[in-house]
Symmetry: C2
DNA sequence: CGTCGTCTTGATCTTTCTCAACCTGTGTGG
DNA sequence: CCACACAGGTTGAGAAAGATCAAGACGACG
């Protein structure tokens, strides 16, 4: 009935003009204005940018699909895809509130992209009312703090909990049930994982608090730095 | 070493003024301007808004923690928490590009919130350059399309795949490996789940395409509408 | 036409979900 | 001030699900 996934891009309209892009239109393209972005086709598999790199450009996807992946700590390179961006979406917007990219972006189909330098885009924003700027910052920061829910295919419960604890401090007073949901596991499983971490000396827990007792041990429990430790 | 989770909010500075809030500052609070938001303390457990409701207000979290949950289709009520918002974050920003809330927001600790009507906030944005407005729209729309990665505690692989397929069409040409990552499972598991769905007549698959053959069957496989079907 | 990457299928084993009982701190009312 | 009930958290034993390892099939591409 409905074509949902795959198939081929219907109608190879490569001539996607700037007038089709909201940013191009907004910049007044076709009416004397000029969009600072420029088209670029890319083959599937292209890495647009990598997590942690300094933001220099931002992209607008005109055609194709890009996936975002993030790897909390070490083993840079291939993280696990956690978000997908299709046509008519913007990539790298975190550059407006941060210096470095939060995710790695990889084209998974052939794509047509526009890109513009961070500074050019930022100039648009800086010309705005302070209130609007503050609002945009808040929106971006809110999403920047999001971390992808880890799935069971990314290590066992103990590893996932350890990684989550290493990601940074979390607001006090949040019930265990909620933490378990955020980690994609049941409260029982979280409880067992915390017990295991406590037994290994990585953390100290009471019924309502979690305290990191040994960053070393926690790193080890997370599976970081100890898998490829053959050079030493 | 580090206090990470729980404990009690240190120093009960309830008198969080508008000057501390970026939006308050930006609105010129304390310098003759007036922030359209107003403080409100709320107990833990308060529902701020529910998925699908018309957006009338937006919130700024001054203190405490709020979780966002989303339930793809039916069984409204309590979805599963998938994102967390702490102090100094904005809630309900999707109202700038949509009519309804995308998530349900629930306070999980005592919170102090500012809220302002959507129209007031929107007025700030509308006063902006078209380019900046377009940019904000793109950012918000990009995140609005995100759907939380489902965890194994939210149904088995077949259910999760079925729900994901029902969430809407996905860009063509995306490899199975990527889809599996987005769904938080291994390619093997995805393959088996798709085979099961195909066997039940819900979908038709080739090696590179997925086609919904029966929305009814797919709904059933997703576990919707068939669990509570005791009234008939 | 042969090679390669991607996807599928199969058998086994670990993990975690499930269901259940129990513990513990909190708040309530006598 | 103590007994009680309650919600949230912990622990335990069993079953189901998915991860793992390995081999084979299909389609794309040179």
């Amino acid at each position: 009935m409905f074509e949902v996934v795959n198939g081929r891009p219907s109608g190879e309209r490569r001539a996607a003009t700037c007038a089709l892009c909201p940013l191009g239109k907004a910049a007044g393209e076709g009416q004397g204005g000029r969009c600072p972005m420029s088209d670029r086709p890319r083959p599937a598999g292209t890495f647009l940018y990598s997590e942690g790199e300094t933001v220099d450009r931002m992209w607008f996807v005109k055609q194709g699909t890009v996936v975002l992946s993030r790897e909390a700590d070490d083993r840079r390179g291939r993280g696990v895809a956690w978000a997908i961006r299709g046509a008519h979406t913007l990539l790298g917007a975190e550059g407006l509130v941060r210096l470095t990219y939060l995710d790695s972006a990889r084209a998974v189909t052939e794509v047509i992209l526009c890109s513009a330098s961070r500074d050019e885009i930022k100039a648009w924003i800086d010309a705005c009312e302070p209130a609007a700027r503050a609002l945009l910052d808040l929106v971006l920061l809110g999403h920047a703090l999001d971390s992808p829910r880890r799935a069971s295919s990314e290590g066992n419960a103990v590893e996932r909990v350890a990684r989550w604890l290493l990601e940074g401090p979390v607001s006090p007073g949040v019930p265990r049930t909620v933490i378990a949901e955020l980690l994609g596991m049941l409260p029982e499983t979280l409880s067992r994982a915390l017990a295991a971490l406590a037994a290994s000396g990585a953390i100290e827990t009471t019924r309502r608090s979690i305290r990191i007792a040994g960053v070393e041990a926690l790193h080890e429990a997370a599976g970081f730095a100890c898998e490829g430790e053959n050079h030493d």
